[in-house]
């Protein structure tokens, strides 16, 4: 039977998109399910047993765990349910999770920094153990035996030397009469006693995901609700001068148009009418002080701020002076930002996917000029977070539009809005000055980070005697915010690339080089293991390379080896990724694997393709077509190994990201000797310099313009006119064949004009096939 249909109505709200009715006193409105909860909470005898705010035992012998962190794809609802279920000895098939609602009693509900597991590891286990002790005490009292004569299993209490047993549900009434066992009387299990933790467990939300029943922010429905979108200023930091909504108002279904400080809101009967209405708006904008701002200006400014770094110690015999560049990134979650809000009688209720319901509550309160106590924020599923949902701009907009229009409002960003109104991963430039001494040791490591938005330096996890860090920020007014693994995304790329360059300067194998200087034995452990599983020392064919990088953070350690091939034409193939992670205690190994693979694909996608470009104060990217993500056919093979080295768990949502990018760049270097210091990689043609010009004796190849935006002219002039059997093929930089254009000719001059408008920006290759030979030429598409 389906796991959902038999759930109590309390959980119904997380399980279905419809069935909302009724007004609950004390709050603006709620749905039937919530109404039931509020009424029943007053009389716990009817509802069940709640020994703490974290756990509840129902009359159906189910266990409901309250999750005070947001599910954004990291599997936290499953993990938290496991923590309680383990100590409670609950029947795992009857364990469910509900989301906490932003009430301060749950403590900080911000989901970020991979802190959830480390924060709740003891709290939730204690809550489970406390509930279990209470149930044992109840059974002991009923049977007239000592609690030590009882044991628990699968949501039942058993008598040790007898045949009596009672389900947890059967014990509720008795337990309600008993005192809750004090925390200091609770004994937790030892790791060797675990039955649930450390074993692979199925995602408790999967039944909802696969049937479309999981309610995301954009799925919330209430009778009488309306839909809203906003026309935003296209210029970063610009403002509205004037607008004309006469045409928009004529669109069928459009109910109202409101000018707010954030833009012009269009409220309509349905999403489509709202979008049509927005399309019909005419607005003129003041570009503001950012007119003329471009990515080029930003990076030029960064470069000018790098300055000079101190002289390295005298012992230095070989010096590295390298500058690494990383672009702004949008989060581009699968579900564009959206939120439901209803403002009425001075109160506001929100339903949304957010990583920070408590700040959402505060922001809504201050935006609407009401007390925080009059705002309730309910957390729904998020179609991806990656840090984006720490900023609650979309929730505030929903609330303001509801207040302006008087309707319950589902506000949503289109994909275009979502990319153009993000809080971007800060762009940064990293100047690393370092060197090696005569013993091949790093003599000093000086690192200067210049960024727009906060990028704090990160120290290399290695024994280096002289480490110095410098940071400088320059504010261009680009909104920035947290992005999966935050400062590590930029820093670890720079540092682990530089370590590779230093290993080369020292003439030492890069993996051995790291092993020699790694501070932590756990970091050494993952490096050693990844060397084994990747057969690091085995020989590779020509054009194939391996790269390694390591990272420690969030209480965990990880090492990646990436294996790539680069063909003579420049086509990059990522063959395999080996990852060894040491999470301490692995709570749910299957979920760890999912997170490590997911983070790696995230890192590969961004390293290869992703960049937010600014021109004339505007963001140029607008969707997945020009801000590209890898597809199934492009992903490498994976081999993941998990080491268990301690009894403390760690956060797994971010640790798998930082070291993938440098390992990939180090692998490209290993394959063809080309060092990538600028991301995304897909902007650099991967052709060896000795390949250039070797076609001159057969033909000449011209392109115009190159770089190009959508169209490029290609000309092949063959020296020997008697050989017209010529073929031109266009590939993307991963070697996927895209086009085989027909060539026109006048005499020995063959030509065509290509239109690559539909393809994302990046490097493409025009391969000329002549006399059974292939000659590759890069075409650089910009946006």
């Amino acid at each position: 039977m389906d796991g959902i249909t038999n759930l109590s109505r309390r959980r119904f709200v997380f399980g279905t998109a419809v069935t909302i009715a009724g007004v609950v006193s004390g709050f603006v409105f709620s749905n039937e399910a919530l109404a039931e909860l509020i009424v029943l909470d007053k009389d716990k005898k009817i509802l069940g047993l709640t020994p703490s705010i974290w756990v509840e035992i129902t009359k159906d012998n189910e266990v409901i765990v309250t999750v005070a962190r947001s599910e954004i794809g990291q599997g936290i609802r499953t993990t938290f349910a496991m923590l309680v279920a383990e100590e409670l000895d609950a029947d795992w098939s009857k364990v469910f999770a509900v989301n906490a609602d932003g009430d301060p009693k749950y403590g900080d509900q911000s989901t970020g920094g991979s802190t959830s597991v480390r924060t709740f590891w003891m709290t939730l286990r204690k809550a489970g153990a406390q509930a279990r002790q209470l149930l044992i005490n109840a059974a002991a009292e009923i049977w007239g035996v000592s609690p030590s004569d009882c044991f628990t299993e699968n949501s039942f209490v058993y008598e040790k030397n007898g045949t009596r047993k009672l389900s947890y549900a059967d014990l509720i009434d008795k337990a309600l009469e008993l005192p809750i066992p004090p925390e200091n009387s609770i004994k937790l299990k030892s790791v060797s006693e675990f039955k649930i933790l450390g074993k692979a467990h199925k995602n408790i939300d999967e039944p909802l995901f696969v049937t479309g029943k999981a309610v995301y922010g954009s799925d919330f429905r209430l009778p009488g609700m309306k839909y809203a979108v906003m026309l935003h200023c296209p210029y970063i930091g610009g403002s509205l001068l004037s607008y004309d909504d006469s045409e928009a108002k004529k669109i069928k279904g459009v109910l109202g148009i409101y000018r707010l400080s954030e833009g012009i809101a269009v409220v309509a009967d349905n999403s489509w009418s709202a979008l049509k209405g927005r399309e019909a708006l005419k607005a003129t904008w003041n570009p503001g002080s950012n007119q003329g701002l471009s990515s080029e200006t930003i990076f030029n400014t960064f470069r000018s701020l790098l300055g000079t770094l101190p002289e390295l110690p005298k012992s230095t015999i070989k010096e590295l002076n390298a500058t690494y560049e990383v672009p702004f990134l949008a989060h581009s979650t699968m579900e564009p930002m959206s939120a439901f809000a209803f403002f009425q009688d001075g109160k506001c209720e929100v339903w949304a996917g957010t990583q920070n319901p408590q700040t959402a509550r505060n922001s809504v309160a201050s935006a609407l000029g009401i007390s925080r106590n009059n705002v309730k924020v309910n957390v729904l599923y998020s179609g991806g977070g990656f840090g984006r949902r720490h900023i609650n701009d979309y929730i505030v907009k929903a609330a303001k539009i509801s207040k302006a229009s008087g309707f319950p409002i589902l506000f949503f960003y289109t994909k275009d809005d979502d990319i153009k109104n993000d809080y971007y991963r800060p762009a940064s430039m990293h100047y690393i000055k370092s060197g090696v001494d005569s013993q091949g040791k790093i003599s000093g490591f000086y690192h200067k980070v210049v960024s727009q938005g906060d990028v704090f330096y990160v120290e290399p996890p290695y024994n280096i005697s002289d480490i110095r860090n410098f940071t400088e920020k320059h504010n261009f007014g680009i909104p920035t915010g947290p992005w999966r693994s935050v400062d590590y995304t930029q820093n670890v790329f720079a540092i682990e690339s530089a370590i590779d360059e230093l290993a080369n300067l020292a003439g030492v194998d890069p993996l051995q080089f790291r092993l020699n200087i790694a501070k932590s034995s756990r970091l050494k452990g993952v490096l050693q293991r990844v060397a084994e599983i990747s057969q690091w020392n085995s020989a590779l064919p020509k054009g194939v390379g391996r790269g390694v990088a390591a990272f420690e953070g969030y209480g965990a350690y990880i090492a990646h080896v990436v294996e790539v091939s680069v063909s003579d034409e420049g086509f990059l193939r990522i063959l395999k990724i080996f990852a060894v992670v040491d999470p301490g205690f692995p709570i749910n190994p299957e979920n760890i694997r999912n997170q490590i693979i997911g983070s790696a694909i995230d890192a590969l996608s961004t390293a290869l393709n992703a960049e937010i470009t600014i021109q004339n104060g505007q963001i140029l990217q607008s969707g997945f077509h020009n801000y590209r993500w890898l597809r199934m056919e492009e992903i490498p093979d994976f081999e993941i190994d998990i080491l268990t080295t301690s009894e403390q768990p760690s956060g797994m949502g971010e640790v798998g990201f930082p070291s993938v990018t440098p390992a990939l760049c180090n692998a490209i270097y290993n394959a063809i000797g080309l060092r990538i210091r600028k991301l995304p990689i897909g902007k650099t043609p991967l052709l060896k310099s000795d390949d250039k010009k070797n076609h001159y004796e057969k033909f000449h190849f011209n392109t115009y313009p190159n770089p190009f935006v959508s169209k490029v002219q290609i000309e092949v002039i063959i020296n020997d006119f008697n050989k017209p059997s010529l073929q031109l093929i266009i590939y993307d930089f991963l070697g996927k064949k895209l086009l085989e254009p027909k060539l026109s000719n006048t005499g020995n001059k063959f030509y065509t004009e290509l239109n690559l408008e539909v393809y994302p920006p990046g490097v493409y290759y025009a391969v000329v096939c002549l006399d059974n030979k292939r000659y590759s030429f890069p075409l650089v598409k910009t946006i």
Binding site: D2, G73, F209, V210, G212, S332, M334, T414, N594
Partner: protein
Amino acid sequence: MKIIVNKTEYDIDVEPNMPLLWVLRDILNLTGTKYGCGIGVCKACTVLIDGYPEQSCSIPISYVEGKEVTTIEGLSINGEHPLQIAWKELSVSQCGYCQPGQIIRAAYLISKIPKPTVEDINKEMSEHICRCGTYKKIRDAILWATKD
């Protein structure tokens, strides 16, 4: 206008050029079909129209008059389709948002090729974006659902 969704006939009064996606989500409250990009790139909105996968964000409602639309809710609301069972068995999803679209296309794939190879799966499923990077698990689940 009469349309058939998940074997149920609905009489709706909307503009003929309104995309099927918004009819499903806003008029019929069938929110299992997701909005990802609205321009036919991400495939999160995929539904079956007369058995073929189409992007509901880019199909005007007038086009589906007289045709049968199947959404994730119609595949098996209790999650008993072999693919749904496989997804649950392997815990494929991370955020879950792309999965209804993925499962709909996978259902089409196995209706066409009952025992797809890795290449068949890669070719068909590479239409879709999963921002969380669950591709390997999706592939494994399709193989799991179609093994002997």
